[in-house]
Structure formats: structure tokens, C-alpha cells
């Protein structure tokens, strides 16, 4: 390990049994903050590795930087025994299997907690470990539906729509990480381990704050889905067509509206009482938006963005992901890194969105091959010799 030691989690050992997006994001954040994260994979490697067809999917590369890989066949008794030995050395175990899966393998919380009372055991699920829906199969897509996010996304008279990305997976993952850290703080004070439980469904609840405000304010009437309108009723608000793309604008304060009107050359609207506050403008929303678009549609999104930004209006170009990964701001800040991978070629990899002023920032290390660190990890953690590891490999345990 060449991780700098001046990192907040340096010295902590993590057994990472997770897969796909949710759990691996939690483990990635730990690795990025300096913990020794050992990704335990079945001998062929985590199934996400093969999900991109012939090449490793970019998502796998993004989510598995800075980890070490140990292959372990948990269907063998020896594999289970090795895992228990690793757990006895560990501070944190992360898992996002279906509820009950690890219990069946003799690797459940009750067993491992007895072996290591200081262990923080983190379970990430779709619906939680308890409750009538806990056995449901969960994917980001279905959690978007079950949690209400999909019902809030889309346009009037159109079907509910998927929000772009996999917000439920990543929201579940960051809550797993946050729960693990909270439990470590508690362990520092109380000296005991705990099981941490997070569900994707519950992790999404607070994202619908504005919709709940609108719903209660309307005395229990549901706000209509409207992707071009603010759930809190501010105006102007929306997306505006430019010559070569789109711009998002929101006017939260009256000064924003004043600055928009001046920038688009419509000072006349500032003297018009029909446009004197957000509520009145909302009644003339089509006119407000038409006035703005009459101006944006004659410019490129960069030009319109620059002018409105200069006028201190909350504005942003609606970016495509290729524009996001090339954004100078994100490279300048050290969030994104240009790397070359033997298989994937030139790629841009993100680092952790969490920064610490008084610790070193980990550089991004490319994701490991399955079992790449078998010798290293079993030697460091369990003092097994090279020959021991070769024997285990021959027996199909690794």
C-alpha cells in the first residue's frame, strides 16, 4: 500500500463485499479517504465487471478506484473461514446482498459481531432488512418508482418519467458510507460496534421536500408533474432554448428578475405592474418565458450563459455528460483526472466529492484486476505465506 498516511481514515481496514453501484460507492469513498479497502470478489470477479460486454464498464472503473481485490469463493467452507478471519482484523464490513444472504453463509451480523464486537457491519438494501416490503427485488429503476421520484418527474399529460442517472443507488451508497462513519464515531466514544442499516427507498425521501411543501400548502392536492416549472412556484424558472442547446434559469429573488429583464433588453417589463412579483409573473408564465427565449434563441448557450452569469443570475448551461467530464472547473479542482487504462484506453476518472483541508488527497489509482492483491492482502492481514496462497488458489478457495 502506498496510500499517504495523512488521511482521515488511514489505518482503518474495510472488508468490502458489495457489488453494482450502491455498496461500491460507499467503499470507494472509504478508499479515497485513506482506508485499506479490500474488495472481496468471487473467483471470476464481481458481476458488474462483465456488464459492459467486451470491455469493463466505465461505471466499474469509476466506482472501484483505490481498492485492492481479493478473490474468495464464499461457497466453500474454507472461503467462509478466511472471510471470518479477515473480519476479525477489520473495522468495517460492507455488504449489499439481499437480506439474509450472508446469514445463510454463516457470515451474518450475529456471527461476525460475536467474533469481533467492535465491528461496524453495514447493510445496504433496496427496502430495508425489516418490514413487509423487505423481500422485494430492488433496482434503481423500481426504487425511483416506489419512492415517488418517478411520479414527480416528467410533464403534464405525459407518463411519469425516469430521472436521469441512478440517483437511488448512489444515494443509498452515500448513506451507507455516512452510517459507517457515524458508527465509527460512536465506537470511538462507546467502544462498541454496531450494525448499520440503510435502504435506497428511505434514502430518497428527503429529495421530495419541495413537492411535499407544495402538497401540504395546497391542502393535500398533488402538485402536477412539470419538468419546466418550479414546484415552489417561482417565476421565471425553466429551460430556455439557445441556438445550440439549452440554458437553465431560476429567479429566486427580485434582483434576479431585474437582472434578467435588463440582460434580455426588456427593461419595459420592470415598469409593468403585471410583472411586479413572482406570483404575478407566474400568471403570465408563457409571456415571461417567451420574452426570455426570444433573447436566448438568438445566442449560443455559452454566450447567453456568460451574459446572465455576469448579471448575477442563477443560470447554468444544460450540459451533456461529455461536457461535464471535460469541465475545466472540475479538472482545476482535482475532481476529475485523465488516466490511461490498458483495456479502456484514455478515460476520465472522478475522485471523492469530499475534501479535507488538513489531510492529503489520495491520488486516483485504477481499479484492480480480480484477485490482483490475493498474496499481498492475505500476507498483510492474515500473515499467510506465498505458498499458502498458491495452495488456496489450487484448491479453488481464491
Amino acid at each position: 500500500m502506498t496510500t499517504p498516511t495523512n488521511q482521515p481514515l488511514a489505518g482503518l481496514k474495510v472488508v468490502d463485499l458489495t457489488q453494482i453501484y450502491q455498496g461500491p460507492y460507499a467503499a470507494f469513498l472509504m478508499a479515497s479517504a485513506g482506508a485499506d479497502v479490500v474488495k472481496v470478489e468471487p473467483p471470476g470477479g464481481e458481476r458488474m465487471r462483465g456488464a459492459g460486454g467486451e470491455r469493463t464498464p466505465m461505471a466499474f472503473a469509476m466506482l472501484n478506484s483505490n481498492k485492492r481485490s481479493l478473490t474468495l469463493n464464499l461457497k466453500t467452507e474454507q472461503g467462509q473461514e478466511l472471510l471470518r478471519k479477515l473480519v476479525m482484523q477489520a473495522d468495517v464490513l460492507l455488504e449489499n446482498y439481499a437480506p439474509g444472504t450472508l446469514d445463510k453463509l454463516g457470515l451474518g451480523w450475529d456471527t461476525l459481531h460475536q467474533l469481533n464486537p467492535k465491528l461496524v457491519y453495514v447493510s445496504g438494501t433496496g427496502y430495508g432488512l425489516t418490514g413487509e416490503d423487505s423481500d422485494l427485488l430492488a433496482m434503481d429503476h423500481t426504487i425511483q418508482a416506489a419512492s415517488g421520484v418517478m411520479g414527480c418527474t416528467g410533464d403534464p399529460d405525459q407518463p411519469p418519467s425516469r430521472a436521469g442517472g441512478a440517483p437511488c443507488d448512489i444515494m443509498g451508497g452515500i448513506h451507507m458510507y455516512a452510517g459507517a462513519m457515524s458508527a465509527l464515531v460512536g465506537r470511538g466514544i462507546n467502544g462498541k460496534g454496531t450494525r448499520v442499516e440503510v435502504s435506497m427507498l428511505e434514502s430518497m425521501y428527503f429529495t421530495m421536500c419541495s413537492e411535499f411543501t407544495a402538497y401540504y400548502a395546497a391542502g393535500g392536492e398533488l402538485p402536477a408533474r412539470n419538468s419546466a416549472r418550479s414546484p415552489s412556484g417561482v417565476c421565471p424558472y425553466g429551460r430556455y432554448r439557445c441556438k445550440d442547446g439549452w440554458l437553465a434559469i431560476i429567479s429566486v429573488a427580485e434582483t434576479h428578475w431585474h437582472n434578467i429583464a435588463k440582460t434580455i433588453g426588456r427593461n419595459d417589463l420592470l415598469d409593468n405592474p403585471d410583472y411586479a412579483n413572482s406570483a404575478r409573473r407566474l400568471r403570465r408564465e408563457p409571456e415571461v418565458n417567451a420574452a426570455i427565449e426570444a433573447w436566448t434563441s438568438k445566442q449560443t448557450k455559452d454566450e447567453a450563459y456568460a451574459a446572465l452569469r455576469m448579471a448575477r443570475v442563477p443560470v447554468a448551461p444544460i450540459r451533456t455528460i461529455d461536457e461535464v467530464q471535460e469541465l475545466p472547473h472540475l479538472h482545476e479542482r482535482g475532481m476529475l483526472h485523465r488516466m490511461t487504462h490498458p483495456d479502456l484506453g484514455d478515460i476520465i476518472l472522478p475522485s471523492s466529492p469530499i475534501r479535507f483541508s488538513d489531510y492529503d488527497t489520495a491520488s486516483v489509482r485504477l481499479f484492480p484486476q480480480p484477485g490482483e492483491h490475493n498474496v499481498e492482502v492475505l500476507n498483510e492481514w492474515l500473515t499467510l505465506s506465498d505458498t499458502d496462497v498458491i495452495d488456496l488458489q489450487t484448491q479453488g478457495v481464491l
Copy 2:
């Protein structure tokens, strides 16, 4: 304070200078895990309180449970001095002002770190504290645009769309909380405080994993926005109309497809080589979806959901937020609580999505009135007398 002491963060003191959604979510999670969170508000109260018109917005109620409120006029020197004294007693300070705001008040990281070298000072911003875009005004709406989320949401030949909810605010907030906890873990090991920095923009990057996978797999071609289609190309995938609403279905494994076909009474498709795997079905996506909808459209969403759930298919009803807040599963699990507030009436309040097996769960306490705990907090934290507090109030400091 009547918080149970068997909580992971019991004994920790938090000065919470945050407003709107992002920072308050971080502070809420701390309060829910047992920390003593003092919400410092300007004398009239945080501006979100008034954002709902005549009544407190539901979002404010959701995000400010379990905190105590202290009013403090930070525009006065005495107010600033009191804040510095509070910080000398605190473990964590949370803020989500525009970069530089607190520095101008003599309450920046450099000053407070000198006064309390063990302080964890957490700054949440839209774009970060550094970099060419750090001065941009940020709202969830514009960060959705800038981060790429909006560009991934919507349908082909339609404008990019806002994802429902305020995912960027909440994602920023949970990363602030996670960063604070990581810094406290580091403090436990290294004995030093640190500044933690989180931006909403960077917090959203990993949600677009699937889109990045598709983009790289296609050799740099952007995946089309399509809210009814999987970015990873699995089929069946989508939303299906029922008699009274919509259902979301995703088929990740071949067994899911088999079980769907059997449930909808289309065993014939299982013998048809054109439907033999996900890639082939994708070529006949309209036929696949029509076959499923021919079945769902004759049932209520509850009926269709029950049948597909029984068949172990990843399925969920597309819920509206009123259905979500009444979901028995979430009440049974203790995530949601029916409460009565003198002003808001009967409301349903969420608790923290993070649970700990070996600690007590905090009950949900209704959000405080502005300055409700002025006497209590200044007495406990700074040993000021009741008379001192009345004097400060008279002088306009509180």
C-alpha cells in the same frame, strides 16, 4: 435535552449555521443520531420558514426536527463574539453560505480553527470553494443543469427535463454529513480538526454511472435521453400503463423475463428465438412492451404489482408522494411518524434513513420556533444567566 444518551453521536455539539435544504439535511442527520444540534438563526428566523406563504413550509418541518434554535444577530459584533464562544465549545460547525461570507464576518475557517484546533468546519456550496465557477449562484435547478443530470432526463426529441425533487440539494447535504463524520473519525485517530468541503456539483457526478458506461461503450457517442428505456439496454424495462396508474418493471436476469412472460400469459414468447435474450428483445422493444401493457392495462396497478411481485420480478408501482407518505412499510419500519403541529396540523414526518442496531433510535421532535432555546442553550453551553439572555435580547443581539 431529553435525547437518549445511547446514540452514536451523543455528547457531540454542533453549531448549525445552515439554511434551505442542503446544510439543514446534514444537521438533521446529526440531530437524529444524538448530537446536540443548535440551529443558529437570524432574529427573524431562517428565511426558509417564510417560504411557504402563511404557514411553515413542510420542507422546513421535515428538515429541522430534533434541533434546538438559538437566534443570533451575526451583523452585530456581540453576536459574532457569542458565536465564536459557542464554536470554542463545539465539535462541528456546519455552513452553506456563499464562499467567503463567513470570512467577512470574522467567522471563517482560519479564525475559528485558531480558536478551536479540534473543530470540524464543514462548508457546503454549489460549485466548491475554489475554481473558476466557485462564484456562481447555485440552486438545485441550475446544478441539475450544470452537473449533467438534466441533460440525461427526458425523452428523445423533447427538451432536457428537470428530475423530480431536489436531488442536488439533498445529495450535497448527505455528503456534508458524511464528510463531517469522516473528519470526526480522523480527529479520533489524529487529534486534529479539519475543514471539510463539499459541492453539490461534484456530489452528483457518480449518479451518471450508467450514462458514462453507455457513452464509453459507444466509443464516445452520447446516449439519447429516454426516460422509458434503460441506459444499459436491458429489455423489458420501462413504465407500463395500468387501469389506474403506472407500474415500473425491469428485467435484469433471464429468469425475470421468464416470469414476466408467464405472468402475462405469453408463454409462447419463451419459445420464440427472437425473444431469447435481452439484446434480441431490445430489437423488438415495441412488441415486448405492447405485450406487457396489453396485460397491465386490464388491471389496477395493485393487482399487476401483486402478481409480478409474487413471480419474483423487479417491479414497483409508480407512486405519488401522498402514497409514499402513507406506505405501511415505511410506518412499520419507523421511518415515518404521524405528528400534530399547532400550526401545520396533522403531518407525517420522516426520521433518519440511517439506523444502528446497538443504539437507541431518537424519536422525532417537532422543529423549534426561532429562538425557542435561547435561554437553555446559552445557559448550558456558555453558562449565561437568564438575565444575561434577556439583556442580549433587549440589545438586539439575539
